[in-house]
Subunit: 156 residues, 3 copies
């Protein structure tokens, strides 16, 4: 019987597991950064969140507002979702499609690097085209893996 | 040859399959709740959605508006995406990393419970820190699984 | 030892790999369409994006605005995320649960078709209930796969 734990004996799959976990942890960090800016900028969206710190009076209502820094982090978070979800799915299938280990590592490393740089470029913010290019690199890596998957498994 | 269906002979993976399906179904429920509030609050975003029920006249335009209850459900839905996507990826890798079955079940059960409670806390809404704590519990469980994955498979 | 690459000898899993990649590529296309509309409608959200093309003066500020067409694509993109993430997770578990190949293909094909039609219905836009029905079809297919997964693996 095939034990599922043997799956992770495969080096390409171990590399995928490592980098997928790293980019997901990076994405999860966006939640903490959003919370940090909401608290320091005093910009909340739910009345019950304001009530916990500032009570329910009229004075508390002024904290129900949008803040540029909070919105910036939230856009970065959504961009992560839009790009890391395809990486998770396509990257797993790519790792299962029997790639050369060195090629697989190159794909995973470039993707992870591009997303980390994208976040820095969004939050600092760096002048364009810094953020745009980092987005495009991650996008291209995902397309490259998708091409390999479809070439290997195509079954329509 | 390893048959893929044998994968699900593994109990930790069966537990993952069960809880991943449960939290995804819960997340999908948010779409129905959003639709319910859009219809009962008469708050739509696309002109063609209003036209289907109220025609295309000037009178119909007043239904193109945001509504607090609709926006609340949508925030809950987005929060699900932000937290359930990491669970899906990290949880699968965790289940493949050979955890103790009882430990794995504990992780999956707490995560599923925290997300169900989070939704209730958001929609009722419960006073803080109810929603914040339920979010933090699910977040911590995911970090704990990520730690186990990285400890087992690290391949940078 | 079970080689992970053997996983993709399974035809249901190959079919899943193909259709999952197709719907993810379709979802990724939304990013390009958003960028296209942002540039042609001159509607940006980050000051640094405007500065790259129009400088930093007061005149450039008028391009920091929302545009109906851009927002429409973004709603379609978010709807993809909300529906394709459940398909990715539940579809993989379904493919591993030993379905009849013809039944699995039917599920995957209808889902992919429903999401492609949904995007067209959103962007053209088609009159309702075109978009609503295409959404419902993909939703129902996912529920059907979830039912099969839970029936096969349930382990609470």
């Amino acid at each position: 019987m095939a034990k599922s734990s043997q799956l992770l004996d495969n080096e390409a799959l171990r590399a995928y597991a490592t980098y997928a976990t790293v980019v997901l942890l990076k994405m999860m960090l966006m939640s903490l950064i959003t919370a940090y800016f909401r608290i320091t900028r005093k910009a909340f969206v739910n009345p019950e969140d304001v009530a916990a710190s500032f009570g329910k009076g009229e004075g508390a209502k002024k904290y129900l507002r949008t803040d540029q820094d909070v919105e910036r982090v939230r856009r970065g978070h959504l961009n992560d979702l839009e790009n890391i979800v395809p990486f998770l799915g396509i990257g797993l299938l790519y790792a299962l499609s029997g790639p050369e280990l060195s090629t697989a590592l190159m794909h995973f490393r470039i993707f992870a690097g591009s997303r980390i740089f994208h976040t820095l470029a969004y939050l600092i913010p760096l002048p364009q085209p810094g953020r745009g290019l980092s987005w495009a690199v991650g996008y291209a890596v995902t397309i490259s893996m998708a091409y390999k998957v479809l070439k290997t498994v195509l079954y329509l």
